[in-house]
């Protein structure tokens, strides 16, 4: 059986990749995908913990996260479409009007 540490390492790597994607990519859609990767990295660690501890709690939380992620993706993509219609671009660095 694969030990818990391995799952956590994979989860950590996925989370780091997702974080890097959020900060480094210049396309809003890619940023959203990176957020999905981060969420799934967390899901992975939940399930790994749940299996190790022999409970279903981890899986239950995972389902919640998946549900929220689906909703988030729907809203996020709708925003992306709206933004694109206004700015003809998907580069987040151009959307800087959210300030004083």
């Amino acid at each position: 059986m694969v030990p818990l540490g391995h799952y956590l390492v994979v989860s950590g790597i996925l989370f780091a990749l997702g974080t890097a994607g959020v900060f480094l990519r210049r396309n809003v859609i890619t940023v959203l995908l990176s957020i999905e990767i981060m969420l799934n990295a967390v899901n992975l660690s939940f399930i790994a913990f749940g299996r190790t501890l022999g409970t279903v709690d981890g899986q239950i939380i995972m389902f919640f996260v998946v549900t929220v992620a689906a909703a988030e993706a729907a809203v996020g993509l709708a925003l992306v479409i709206a933004l694109f219609r206004h700015r003809e671009s998907l580069n987040p660095d151009l959307f800087t009007s959210l300030k004083w």
């Binding site: 974080t19 959020v22 900060f23 987040p92 660095d93 959307f95 800087t96 959210l98 300030k99 004083w100």
Partner: protein
């Protein structure tokens, strides 16, 4: 029953204040007069029941409600009528009523709304004055005390569009505040010393104390109370407001600034006679201030040219005499003079009002003269008032003034007696100068025909066209009524106090005495058998002085006018000094008003207000906006920067929990 006395005028005030502008003059005047007459009737009824009680134990008390309680301090709204209060209540409501009646004619030129405003103030004044007189403890008296001050301010400034009237009102109010401050401090000291503010309880506890030797706490308390009295009763150093108060309508001067309000200080000392009796030092100061005021105001009165101002200085001078009586411990004599003075001084003011009314607002006696035949009612009543105030024998002023002088002399205050006698000689001179310049001789100005004036016509009936071609009207009926009643009063009022030396029994003194003694300790306050011979001699001296004064006035101003003018130029310095009222106003202006003004402007305004207060407020704003300018750099609008700050925050919090 007692509460009705102040309540009736107060209801009159409410009616005229709330709906007065919609009422006709006839109705609003009637409301005010009826309210006053009602108060007078109730007062007379209560005083009658008071007279039925055994002497020495006369008193009617009514507890109206508990005003406020704080810890062990309790201020009940209690009214009490005792012999002293009885005299005051009758004077205030009776003379007040006459002056209300007089006013209905005098103020007839005003519009309906102004007329109602005038009567609402006048009624409010009467209500407060009656509260002052009936209050059974210091706080209630203070309510009346402040209330009459307010009404005095309102009525002096009744014609507030005139700058001088508005200024005079402010001056009266501010000067009175100084006195009121002393009164308040005195009241606090009485509370801490005696543990009560009820007059009877204070008098009772004070009555068990020995007379204070040296200047102690009672002397201080009474002195502070006396400071209050100098403000309200226009004594040195706070008398300066009263002559200026003549800017108000003349009936107001008669009611407030001659007969009633200004005597409140005298009344207050009488009310606390037991307390003052314990403080000989204070009494000496009271007598000294009184006699100095009497002399000073008397000399100023000699040269003033405004008919009302002469009377104002005369009032100040007579009040000084009352304080002399208080200061030598002759409380009954002081109150007696207060009572007779109310008659003849109200009469004189109302008479001067009738003259002013007839001459369309002219007040300068240099432009009068020869009015004797044209204004007969005014002339004769005015003459009676002048004779009474001068102290001509068998008129009211003679009895009361002589009582004061005799008590002063027999008390051993020879110097005070001499100065007071000189002051009463001056009284006779300036009063008859006024009579002669106003009514005798020839008219010195003919430009004052009422046809082209705003104030002359009296619409009410009772016109007396004396002399063909004359356009002057004598006092109309309501004014004549008040003048005649007061003239009768000025003659007869003194007969309740005929001294024993003249075969009388001085009823008023025996009536009043219980009010000045500590309750329960009422002793036979009779001074024993005094020497009637000496008293008669003094009487002869002072009546001689009265006749001498009249004679001097007649000689200088009627027989030999040029002599008085020559005297004035010969002693130009003295004349100018008197004409400018000893430059006291100028001195106060330089010593008090201007320093306060410059401190306020340079210190309080420029430094404290503009510098410190505004600085603090603006500084708070500057600090906030400064920090805002710095902190807004964080709001870049860059999505990445926000995400980074969320990440850093999450890492820091996690790090804290991990490495804790």
């Amino acid at each position: 029953m007692l509460v009705l006395i102040p309540l009736l005028p107060f209801v009159g005030f409410l009616i005229n204040a709330l709906v007065g502008r919609r009422l006709s003059k006839r109705v609003s005047g009637a409301v005010a007069c009826v309210a006053m007459f009602g108060a007078f009737l109730v007062s007379a009824g209560v005083v009658w029941s008071l007279l039925q009680m055994p002497s020495g134990d006369r008193g009617v008390v009514q507890h109206v409600f508990t005003w406020f309680v704080s810890g062990e301090f309790e201020a009940p709204f209690t009214l009490r009528l005792d012999p002293l209060g009885a005299i005051m209540v009758l004077v205030v409501s009776g003379i007040g009523f006459l002056i209300h009646v007089y006013s209905t004619a005098y103020m007839h030129e005003e519009t309906d709304a102004e007329f109602a405003r005038y009567f609402s103030y006048l009624n409010l004044f009467a209500a407060f004055m009656l509260v002052l007189v009936l209050g059974a403890n210091f706080p209630v008296m203070f309510v009346g005390w402040e209330g009459v001050g307010l009404c005095s301010y309102l009525l002096i400034g009744f014609w507030f569009t005139k700058t001088s009237a508005a200024d005079a009102g402010k001056k009266a109010f501010i000067v009175n505040r100084i006195g009121d401050f002393g009164f308040l401090l005195g009241m606090f000291l009485v509370w801490t010393t005696f543990g009560s503010l009820d007059f009877q309880i204070v008098a009772h506890r004070a009555g068990q104390m020995p007379v204070e030797i040296g200047f102690g706490v009672i002397s201080l308390a009474t002195l502070l109370l006396f400071v209050g009295a100098t403000g309200k009763s226009a004594q040195i150093p706070l008398y300066v407001w009263l002559p200026d108060a003549m800017e108000g309508p003349t009936p107001v001067s008669a009611l407030i600034h001659a007969a009633t309000m200004v005597t409140a200080g005298v009344y207050m000392i009488g009310r606390n006679a037991v307390l003052f009796g314990l403080a000989p030092d204070t009494l000496a100061i009271v007598a000294g201030v009184g006699v100095a005021t009497a002399l000073m105001a008397g000399t100023i009165g000699l040269v003033q040219n405004d008919i009302k101002r002469v009377l104002a200085y005369s009032t100040v001078s007579q009040l000084g005499l009352m304080f002399v009586a208080m200061g030598v411990g002759a409380f009954a004599a002081g109150i007696f003079h207060l009572y007779t003075h109310a008659f003849f001084k109200a009469l004189l003011f109302l008479g001067s009002g009738a003259v002013i009314h007839a001459l369309a607002g002219e007040q300068d006696i240099r432009k009068m003269g020869g009015l004797k035949h044209e204004l007969p009612i005014t002339y004769w009543t005015f003459l009676i008032g002048s004779l009474a105030i001068a102290g001509v024998p068998l008129l009211s002023g003679f009895f009361s003034k002589d009582e004061i002088l005799w008590k002063t002399f027999s008390g051993g205050h020879t110097v005070v007696w001499f100065v007071a006698a000189v002051a009463s000689l001056l009284t006779a001179i300036y009063m008859f100068r006024l009579v002669i310049l106003t009514f005798h001789g020839d008219r010195r100005a003919s430009a004052t025909s009422p046809a082209d004036a705003g104030h002359g016509h009296a619409a009410a009936g009772g016109h007396h066209h004396v002399g063909e071609g004359s356009h002057l009207h004598d006092a109309p009926a309501p004014m004549a009524f008040a003048l005649i009643v007061l003239a009768i009063g000025s003659v007869l009022a003194g007969y309740i106090g005929v001294p024993a030396a003249l075969g009388g029994s001085n009823h008023i003194e025996h009536f009043l005495d219980p009010s000045f003694a500590a309750p329960g300790l009422a002793e036979a306050g009779e001074g024993g058998h005094h020497d009637h011979g000496a008293e008669l001699t003094l009487m002869a001296v002072s009546s001689g002085a009265a006749f001498a004064g009249i004679g001097i006035a007649v000689y200088f101003f009627l027989r030999n006018r040029s002599l008085s003018d020559r005297l004035a130029t010969r002693f130009a310095g003295v004349h100018r000094l008197l004409l400018h009222k000893y430059y006291v106003d100028e001195f106060y202006d330089a010593a008090v008003v201007q320093p306060i003004r410059s401190v306020s402007e340079r210190g309080l305004w420029r430094v404290v207000d503009a510098g410190i207060v505004d600085g603090a407020v603006n500084g708070a704003g500057l600090v906030v906006s400064g920090w805002g300018a710095i902190l807004r750099r964080l709001q870049t609008g860059s999505l990445r920067a926000y995400a980074l700050s969320i990440l850093v925050g999450a890492v820091v919090i996690l790090g804290y929990f991990v490495w804790r």
